[in-house]
Structure formats: C-alpha cells, structure tokens
C-alpha cells in the first residue's frame, strides 16, 4: 500500500546562514493587491513630510575673518591671489608649518590692478582681469597674452572647465565677453539690461554658462547662440552676486544680496531650495564642493557657512536597506509630486520677513506691469506692441 504524505523541501524556506534575511514567499499577482495606488500615495505623503522634518541644511559656520569674505576658490593644485596693490601672489597649497612664516611662493607685480583671477583647469596658466584680460604662465612674470575689447573694467573671468581654452568674462558696462585663449582673440559679446556680476561654466556641458545678474535674475546661455538665453532663473529679490555649478552639472547655487542662497535646477527657471539664517548678511561668494555634497558661502559678516546641498540628506554611512528606502522614498516623491497635498508640503519654505514681503511686492509690480502692457496692446494698432518673451526681454544686443 502506498501512503501519500505531505512533504516540504526545507531548501525552499530555510535560510542558508544566520546572516541571511528570512525568506518570505510572496505572491505578486496584482489582483491580490487592490490598493496599490492609495498605499503608495500615503507613503509618498509621509516621505515628503519626513523630508521637510529632517531638512536641516545648515552644518557649520567657520569664523575667524576680520572682514567680509569676498572670495572663495576651489582648485586641486594651486592657490593664486590678486590684490589692489597690482600684485599677483602664488601660495603654497598646505598651510605654514610650526613657527614658519607664511610667505608667497612667487609675487608678480602687474601693470594694472586686477579685480579677478581664475586658474586654468589643467595647465599652469591663470587669467587675471582688470582693464583687460591677461593670460599668465606660472613660470613667467609677464602675461603671455592680453586681450581686450573696448575700454571697460572687467570684474570677473572664468575658464571653461571642458574646452579649457575658452574664457568668459563680465565687464562693468553690462556685457559678457567670451575669449579664445589659443587664438588670443575675443569671440563675441552680449550686452544685457544690467550688469553681470559673475559667470560660471557648466562642468558637464561645454557650451553652457550661467550669468549672475544685477537685475535679480540668472541667465543660462548657450555660448553659440547668445541672442537668447536658454533659461532665465528668477527667485532672488536682490542682485545676484555669485553663482557656482554643482560638479554634476545638474544644478547650481547662487548667492544674493538679499541675504540668501538659492539652488536652481539647470533646466528650471525657479529655485528648488532657499537657504538663509538670521545672522547671515549679504552673501558675496558661494561654492559647491567638488563631491557635490556641500555648499560653502562667504558673507559680509565675516563668516563662511557650510550647508548641505541636499537639505534632508543623511550624512554618514548608510546601510543598504537605508539606501534602498531612501531611493524608494525619492522615487515616490517624484511620482506623486503633482498631487496637491504632496506638492504643498514639499514646496513649503520658511522665509525671513524681509524677503517674503519683497517677494510679494515684486509680484504686485510684475503683475501691474503685465497688465499695463496688455492694456497698451489692447488699445493700440495690432502688431505695434509685440509680445516679447521673458527670455528675449533682457538681452540688449549681441556684438560680433
């Protein structure tokens, strides 16, 4: 007689070692999981709330300066400075030893006062700007070549990080000039409504750069088509003083006179994040660190502040499960970002009263300006008051 028995193979349910996680048999049949969307929605909502709760971007304040911090720089190999005394000084990268006096490695006396400096990304070359843009070899005491176009004081110069022979500079007569170092000639000039304070090149896209302008906006340009900016970034309520790209090239951070710094996605015109503290005054310079995790800003009140680039990110080592949960939450937030509750919570930011009221004020101004233009258009001959897009509005001219 044959006896039928229930038999189970322990291989199917017993884990091999103690360190393995328990095996959970699961049926993925969608009919068995009717409430997938609502459940995920709730998860997304919770993730968004937690993100806002854990958003603590401020890390540290580095004090010690006895005057406002006007300049920050990041370069792996060299440290060069310029001063109002017409000198260019090159310094050691590591600080002085014990009892050693800090002295520059090399001092070059220039002919004119330089107002800005930038170092080449690969070669031992640096560029200074003042009355003209000078290219220096580190081994020489006179500039290798100097380029100018018209007569105005250039306030900042930046090397392109990818095609390293291209430079961009912005001058005080409202223009941005591009130079080619190899051919030792300026390339093109674009004149904007107001003065550009500085520019920054996208480290992943060779032809894109962003200009921080006095008219509260930032403009991202494609250097091959300067007549229309690719994107106008607006949110600041005062002059934008500095801008720096994340090394991933997806975002940039801007420092403004309105005592805040903002993070913009490259292809969006509005900021994703705003950082401010009570004690932070006009922010003059800002840098995104090379590992893309932190942001440094130097401000008027003698402090350098360190921020997280991602406000709610957990620092330190993450376990794989933490990482997975993090990724899942991010994806959920992304998936449900258009839902009103999620959106509302994710967008909420606290602002100091001064900035808040200024935003309101400017909104009103803008609206009234728009209304006026519309009225004018309505009551004048068709076509005589053309519709000018926001992007084209701010470019005055492109000079060949």
């Amino acid at each position: 007689m044959k006896v039928k028995m229930l038999s189970r193979n322990p291989d199917n349910y017993v884990r091999e070692t103690k360190l393995d996680i328990q095996r959970v048999p699961r049926n993925y049949d969608p009919t068995l999981h009717p409430f997938e969307v609502p459940r995920e929605y709730v998860r997304a909502l919770n993730a968004t709330k937690l993100e806002r709760v854990f958003a603590k971007p401020f890390l540290a304040s580095l004090d010690g300066h006895r005057d406002g911090v006007n300049c920050l720089a990041k370069h792996p190999k060299s440290l060069t400075t310029v001063g109002d005394d017409k000198t260019v000084k090159q310094w050691k990268m590591d600080g002085p030893g014990c009892g050693e006096e800090e002295e520059p490695l090399q001092t070059i006396l220039g002919k004119t006062v330089s107002t800005g400096i930038d170092h080449h990304w690969k070669d031992p070359i640096f560029a200074t700007c003042g009355q003209q843009v000078d290219i220096w070899d580190e081994q020489r005491t006179s500039p290798v070549c100097s380029m100018n176009w018209g007569f105005d004081s250039v306030c900042s110069v930046k090397f392109n990080p990818i095609e390293t022979f291209i430079l961009g500079s912005c001058a005080s007569d409202r223009n941005i000039v591009l130079y080619d170092m190899r051919q030792a000639t300026p390339l093109k000039k674009v004149i904007l409504d107001m003065r550009t304070n500085t520019i920054c090149w996208n480290p992943m896209e060779a032809f894109h750069f962003t200009a921080a302008n006095e008219d509260y906006n930032l403009y991202t340009f494609d250097m091959r088509a300067l007549d229309t900016p690719v994107q106008v970034h607006m949110d600041h309520v005062s002059a934008v003083l500095d801008v720096d790209y994340s090394p991933t090239g997806k975002e940039f951070v801007s420092a403004s006179f309105d005592k805040s710094i903002r993070i913009f996605p490259v292809e969006r015109s509005r900021s994703r994040e705003v950082y401010h503290t009570k004690r932070m005054q006009h922010v003059i310079c800002v840098k995104w660190t090379s590992d893309s995790k932190y942001i440094m800003c130097g401000s008027d009140e003698m402090n350098i502040r360190l921020w997280k680039a991602n406000a709610s990110e957990k620092l330190g080592v993450l376990t794989s499960r933490e990482k997975a949960a993090n990724d899942y939450n991010q994806k959920l937030k992304e998936k449900f970002q258009y839902h009103p509750h999620v959106k509302r919570i994710a967008r909420h930011r606290h602002l100091p009263k001064s900035i808040y009221s200024q935003i309101q004020e400017q909104r009103i101004m803008k609206e009234s300006r728009r209304r006026k233009e519309m009225n004018r258009r309505k009551h004048s001959k068709p076509g005589s008051v053309p519709v000018v897009s926001e992007r084209k509005k701010h470019v005055v001219a492109v000079v060949k």
Binding site: M204, E205, P247, Y338
Partner: protein, 766 residues
C-alpha cells in the same frame, strides 16, 4: 667662333661708347661748331686719338663738377637731356643679346601687376578675426552636443565619471601584506616554507606578462581601423591598376576598327559568292541599320559632343575633321544600297545641307534667305536693334507695332503676329548666339532685353494678381483682425510657477505639516471646481426650503411632457391665419415624419432614472444560503432569514438635480477625494492617460520583485561622498583630446594671422 663674335660685339660697343663719350668730353660751343669745317674736325679727332694712345687723359682730370642731388644709387637722373629716360632706352643698344629679353619680360610683368589695395582698417580686421575664431570654436563645441543630449536623457549617471581601470595585481604583491592568522593557516605556511615551495617564484608565465603589457582596447581599435584603411586603399589601387592595364590606346582601337570593317567587307564579298541568300539577309541587316540610323539621328551632329565641336570647328582643324568624319559615317549609314531614286537624292542633299553646322547655315540665311517673309523680318530686326539701342525698351514699341498692325489690316493680323513672334524669337536667339561668339557684352545686352520682356510680363501678371488679392482680401480682413484680438485677450502665458511656497512661518513637526496639508485643501485657490461645489453645498440648505414649496407647484413630469400651448393672436385676419396654419401644419407633419422614431424626452427621463438608481446606496444582504437550514441547488434562504440579515443602506443626501427636471448632475465626484487629486495635467504629459499610467504602476517592493524594485527606484544621479567629481573630459566620452596643451598652442599662435588672410580677401572682394 663664339669668341670672335664676342670680340666683334665688344668692339662695336666700344666704338659706340666713344661716339657717345665725345660730346661730353668736348664741350664745344655752337659758334665753333658752325665755323669749323669738316677737315678741321677730322684733324682734331686724329689729335685726340693720338692723345688717348698716350694713356693719359688730360681732359678728364680738368673737368670737375659738384655732386648732383638728383643722382642716387637707384635711378639714373635724366637732367639736362630734356626728355625723360626710360628703362627701355637703356636696354636698347644691347638688344641682340638674348639674356636681356628675360629681363624685359620681367619688367613688363612688373608693370602689369596691380598695386596692392589699401588694407582694411583695424576695427574691421579685428571683427573678421573674431568672427572666424567664433565660428571655429563653436564648431569645436558642437562635438559635445550628442554627449550633453545623452547625459540629459540618461537613466542614471554615476559620478565620478571616469572609472579606474581594473588592474590585476600580480600574486606576489598580494602575498606581501598577507599574514597567517589562524593556526591552520600558520601550519600550512610553515609547511610551505619548510619545503621551500616557490612562493615568490616568477609566477607569471611570459604569455601572462605579455597579456598584461598588451595594448589597451582603444589602441587596438585604432590600429585595426588603420589596418583596415590600408587594406582598402591597397585593393582600390590594385583594381585601378588592373583597369588601367586593360585600356588600350586610341590608335590601337582605330586600327582594330578599320581591320574589322575590312574583314566584314571581305566576308560579305565571299558570302555573296558562296551563298547569295545569306548575303541578302546580311544586306537586309545593313538596311535595317540604315533605318535605325535615320531614326536615331545618332550621327547628325546634334549631340552634346557634336555641338561642342561645332563651336570649335571654326578655329580648330581637328574638330572640323572629326565632325566631317561623323557626317561621313552618317552618310554612309543612311545611304541606300539599292537603286537610288532622284527624289531621294534631293532629300539627301537637303539633309546634307542641314547637317552643316548651324552657325554657318544661319549666317547664310541671314545674308539672303529664300523666304521673302524672312527677308522682311530681318530688316525689321535691324530696325528693332536701332530702337533698342536708342531707348532700350524693346517690348513697348513692339507692342505698339502690333496694335498698329491690328488697326490697319485685320484679316492678316493673326498670321502676321504669329509669324512675327516666331521671327522675333529666332532673331533674338540668333543674336544672342552670335554675340556670345563674338562679344560677350552685346550678348548680355540682348539677354537683358529678353529678361526685361519676361520681367514686364511678370509684372503685369503680378499686378493683376495683386488686384485680385486686394479684392478678395477686403472681406477677409475683418476676421483676421478679430483673431489677434481674441488671442490678446487671453492672459499671457504664465512663467513657470515658483517651485517653492515661501512663507514667513516655519514648520517643524509632523503635526504642523499635516496642518499645512489640511489648510491647503479647504480654501484651495488651486481647485476652483472644489470651491464652487463647496459653495453650492452651503447654498443648498437655504434652497431646500424654497424647493419644497416649489415642488408642489412644479411637477417634473408635467414640465417635460406638457406641450406649449399655441397662442393665436386675434388681430390677424382669419384667411391669412388659415394659410399660415396650413403651412405650419405641413412643417410639423414633416418634422414628425422625420423624427418619427425617437422620443428624446422619454429617453432622457429614463436615463435620469437609471443614474439615480445606480447612485443610490445599495442594501447589504448578509444571508448565507444553507446556514442553519437545508441548502441545495433549488433551495433558497427563507424570506424571514433574508429579512433578518438584510442591512438597509442609509438614505443618502438628497440629489442636487432633484429640482432640475432637465438636468442630470453627476454625483459620483467625491469632494473629499478631489482635494487629493491632480486637477491640471502636469507639464511633460500630453494626455491624461499617460499620467494615469505613471501613477497606476506601483514601484514598491510590495508589488514588484526585488530586481524590478531596484531598477525602478534607481536614482538618477549617484555621487560618492568625498570623491572629487572632475569636469567631463573628452576621453571620458570616447573623444580624443588634443595632444597639445593650451599653453603650447598659445606660444605657437602668431601664425594664426595667416589663417585669416583668406577671409580678409573675401571681405575685400565684397
């Protein structure tokens, strides 16, 4: 021989020199010259000759003059002689020597050269440099376009971009910092050491070493590409050489052809002798070839080649010969072998005439055409030419002429006009051809005249068209005007909505966040639909009272089913009324017939009833058949039990379309859920189905397998803390970066100026 010739030349030269020298050496006064006779002069000459023989030149030492300012080392001053000294004068006496002709040629060449143009001013030059440099750099930059595109669309980007090459550390190096820890390991280690096992022997075989040293993949790829190219080139050259080898000379081909022809004739002769039938067939073949030739016009000098030769025929003997040869061939082919009738001969003659190059023919015809029409028109042509030269307005006078003609002689007019037109065209064509041959300027003029004609025609046409357009436009204008107005009234496209909702309040806890959500959803400005509904809900209770009253007065059924009473006015006379009534009745009848089948009102009522039924909350039946009593196929639970376990659904809120007889309001929409729903289709999506699909697919591990979950939740950008992310490099994306550093390029930059010369020249030409 040469030496003597040279000596002679020298002698002659010296004699001439002496003759030239004489007047300078002897500043003779005019009076002396007149007074002296011939004999005296001879005497003096003799004396002088004797003096010169002594080797002492007294005269020269006496003469002394001041250095002239005009004398320079570069040019000869021609002071005193009255006329300017030309360079060619200086070269005149030495004309026979051949070496100087080259110099002369050079001189003439120098003369023929134009002066250099004035250089452009600095500003323009700089602008050109800038433009050139800009186009160059933008070209360099455009190679990044695909990379940027790819990176933007990438599912995942992992930074830092460059991966460290996976290197195999040799086993010795791994061994170096390894120490035995456990007793077992120590034991093994000891054993190995005791036996002097080769731990640090050359563990790598030569093959392994070679593989380690082997070139990288990229290098190999480049090398392979080079090899491929070389092979392709080689095969190409081989093929070419083979082809070239096969090609024989023209002469060879000629000889072969001739030989073939001769052989064919011989064969034919033989065939005629041997087999007359076959010969006849052959003849037929030849006849056929002739017919083909006559049809095809192959050798009639009408092809491209023949035309080009016809142009050259005037000047080039060879071309003429070639043409004649072809003509001969044509003749040969078209010649009939059988009996030739007279008429055919004539035809042949005509053909021959036609086969003479066109240019010649035309000239002849112009001189004296056989056609009287032609003659007349030719004269007119001449007249027209004059007119053209005077006013340069060809079309108008011609038109006048036409009109005149029409006025004078109507029956002839049409034919005349046609003929004239033909003639005109012909003459224009001829003129242009002739002029092209003779003088290009004239040709252009005639061209101009023709183009003018065409232009005037076009103008007239366009004017007509524009008139038509104007007529047709006028009625159209008004809608065109209204459209932009409508567009303008729409609010201008808003800029991007701010990503952040900035407020002066701070939220710190979860509760506050909850509040944030709630406060948002009730007085939500973004949800106009919800707000309107809320208002309606609030309004409802007030209206309810009124509605109850109204209910008594208005019955739904009545409202919909009662017909509108036909009101007839008394004032209208009855006869007219009757007529109208009839018409009305007819129409009604027609409408009834047309819409016989459908009762719209009934259908609507039915639909409304159905929706009301469907939206009513359902009763819940909890009876379990067979529980507590018998169960089976035909058995049903008892009524008592059913009554007991039936849970009646609570009466829902009153319907909003209760008092609106001709409206169905959908009550499925849930206000509470609406606060959580997306109202407007978000930007990147073009259809709501797309959006819904993204929402419906769950991404959590609850609904997906582990692998799928990982894939679905992979972050877009991955970075590592503390790892420097360098800017993207050409090598990262497979491009070759320029081997020179920027500094070295800069130091060799002065040559760039020469690169721009071309552009400068172009600009100057403009």
């Amino acid at each position: 021989m040469h030496a003597t010739k040279a000596a002679k030349g020298l002698l002659a030269l010296s004699q001439q020199e002496e003759l030239v020298d004489l007047p300078t050496n002897y500043p003779l006064s005019a009076s002396e010259d007149e007074g002296d006779s011939d004999g005296e002069r001879k005497h003096q000459k003799l004396l002088e000759a004797i003096g010169s023989l002594s080797g002492k030149n007294r005269w020269k030492s006496v003469e002394r003059s001041e250095a002239s300012l005009k004398v320079s080392e570069f040019n000869v001053s021609s002071e005193g002689s009255g006329e300017k000294l030309a360079l060619s004068d200086l070269l005149e006496p030495v004309k026979p020597s051949s070496s100087l002709t080259a110099v002369k040629k050079q001189l003439s060449r120098v003369k023929s050269k134009k002066t250099l143009e004035v250089p452009l001013n600095k500003r323009e030059v700089e602008q050109i440099h800038r433009e050139v440099a800009f186009s160059k750099t933008s070209q360099i930059l455009s190679k990044w376009d695909p990379v940027v595109q790819k990176n933007r669309e990438a599912e995942q980007l992992v930074f830092p971009l460059e991966k460290e090459p996976a290197s195999f550390a040799p086993i010795e190096q791994v061994f170096l910092d390894w120490k035995a820890r456990t007793p077992l390991e120590q034991e093994v280690f000891d054993l190995l050491h005791k036996n002097k096992q080769p731990v640090t022997d050359p563990l790598l075989t030569p093959v392994e070493k070679a593989s380690l040293k082997a070139m990288s993949l990229e290098e190999a790829k480049i090398r392979r590409a080079e090899l491929q190219r070389a092979r392709a080139l080689q095969s190409y050259y081989e093929a070419r050489a083979r082809r070239l080898k096969k090609i024989k000379s023209k002469k060879y081909h000629k000889i072969v052809k001739k030989g073939k022809a001769k052989k064919a004739i011989k064969d034919f002769e033989q065939l005629r002798k041997v087999d007359p039938n076959a010969a006849l067939e052959e003849l037929e073949k030849i006849e056929k070839a002739r017919m083909m030739e006559r049809m095809s016009l192959k050798h009639q000098n009408s092809g491209k080649w023949a035309k080009s030769k016809a142009i050259m025929a005037k000047y080039d003997l060879e071309a003429r010969q070639a043409m004649q040869e072809q003509l001969a061939k044509n003749k040969e082919l078209t010649q009939k072998l059988q009996v030739v009738s007279e008429s055919e001969e004539e035809g042949g003659a005509e053909e021959e005439e036609a086969l003479v190059p066109d240019v010649v023919n035309e000239v002849q015809m112009n001189a004296d055409g056989p056609n009287p029409w032609m003659l007349r028109t030719c004269n007119r042509d001449a007249k027209e030419d004059e007119v053209q030269a005077d006013s340069k307005e060809l079309p108008e006078p011609v038109a006048h002429e036409f009109s005149d003609n029409e006025g004078n002689e109507k029956p002839e007019a049409e034919e005349d006009v046609l003929l004239k037109e033909f003639e005109e065209r012909r003459s224009i064509r001829k003129r242009s051809k002739l002029n092209q041959d003779a003088k290009p300027v004239g040709g252009q003029e005639t061209k101009d005249s023709t183009t003018k004609e065409v232009l005037s025609e076009l103008k007239a046409l366009s004017q007509k068209l524009s008139k038509d357009n104007r007529l047709s436009k006028k009625p159209k204008e008004s809608p065109a005007k209204t459209v932009p107005l409508v567009q303008e009234e729409e609010p201008a496209p808003e800029e991007e909505e701010p990503l952040l909702l900035q407020r002066p309040e701070r939220v710190r806890t979860l509760e506050e966040l909850e509040e944030l959500g709630k406060e948002d959803c009730l007085p939500n400005k973004e949800l106009p639909g919800a707000a309107v509904e809320g208002e309606q809900v609030r309004r409802n209770p007030q209206e309810e009272l009124k509605g109850k009253k109204k209910e008594k007065m208005i019955s739904l059924q009545k409202l919909l089913t009662t017909r509108t009473p036909s009101v007839t006015s008394v004032a209208v006379p009855t006869t007219v009324e009757e007529q109208e009534d009839e018409v009305e009745r007819d129409q009604k009848q027609m409408i009834k017939e047309a819409f016989a089948g459908d009762d719209v009102i009934k259908e609507f009522l039915k639909e409304k009833r159905e929706t009301i039924q469907a939206n009513k909350p359902k009763d819940l039946d909890l009876t379990l058949p067979g529980w507590g009593e018998w169960g089976g196929m035909d058995l049903k639970p008892s009524a008592k039990k059913r009554r007991r376990f039936l849970i009646k659904a609570p009466e829902g809120p009153p319907r909003r379309d209760r008092d609106l007889p001709n409206v169905i309001i959908n009550e499925k929409r849930n206000i509470h859920a609406a606060a959580h729903q997306v109202q407007v289709l978000p930007y990147p999506f073009t259809h709501h189905q797309q959006f819904e699909r993204t929402i419906q697919n769950p991404i959590g591990s609850t609904w997906n397998t582990q692998r799928a979950f990982q894939k679905l939740t992979a972050p877009k950008v991955v970075t590592k803390a503390g790892h420097i992310i360098e800017p993207i490099k050409a090598e990262d994306v497979g491009y070759q970066s320029s081997p020179k550093s920027d500094l070295s390029v800069m130091q060799s930059s002065p040559k760039r100026r020469s690169k721009h010369q071309k552009q400068l020249k172009k600009r100057r030409a403009q």
